[in-house]
Symmetry: C2
Subunit: 116 residues, 2 copies
């Protein structure tokens, strides 16, 4: 069986992108922006700092309200955003929820920046 | 001259912060959140990607509108946010402005995450 020669031109027409290098696609950029939205809030950075600095590796939500001077509903709202962004892991035990850093999550964010 | 013994108790009253470890301060967190706000937008991530991938190290604003499919005022608005956040350097030459990555700026953002 012989391959037929293609009728399409071998080169695609040049577009305005000056160098033809790959551009971060719109959907990929939308996905990557989500984690930066989670980090783009001072209280959420402080929450991450507290959880990261906890020697036991996890923080009870009951210990996170006082250092920030915020009510528990507000703290829980911020924590949910950090969980949804894949930065924190949440585990409910008894009355309280406990939060820990997702291993490698902050390194993954640095990786996004390195590979932009 | 003899130092008088202090009347204040030697220890401060225990507060609710469970371990006494340093917490990222409110003002420091506010400052650090600014750069994540700049990164928290898909179009701005795409602009950084294009500028970073430019072999010459800089991109003319005239070459940044077409790949994003946005008008020049919108692109200029996003570029200003990236410049204000210290991520891009802007140089006006003749009719056009040229943008380049501030050396080390993305590494500095990774450093913020590493030191949270």
């Amino acid at each position: 069986m012989t391959a037929l020669p293609t009728l399409e031109p071998a080169t695609t027409p040049a577009r305005c992108a000056p160098t033809g290098r790959p551009v971060l696609g719109a959907e990929a950029a939308r996905q990557k922006a989500l984690v930066f939205k989670a980090l783009a809030d001072p209280n959420r950075l402080r929450l991450l700092s507290i959880v990261k600095g906890e020697p036991s590796g996890e923080s009870c939500v009951c210990d996170l309200t006082e250092p920030l001077g915020l009510g528990q509903p507000t703290v829980s709202h911020h924590l949910k955003i950090l969980v949804d962004a894949g930065l924190l892991h949440r585990e409910k035990r008894g009355t309280w929820a406990y939060y820990s850093l997702v291993p490698g999550a902050l390194d993954d964010v640095s990786g996004i920046l390195a590979k932009l």
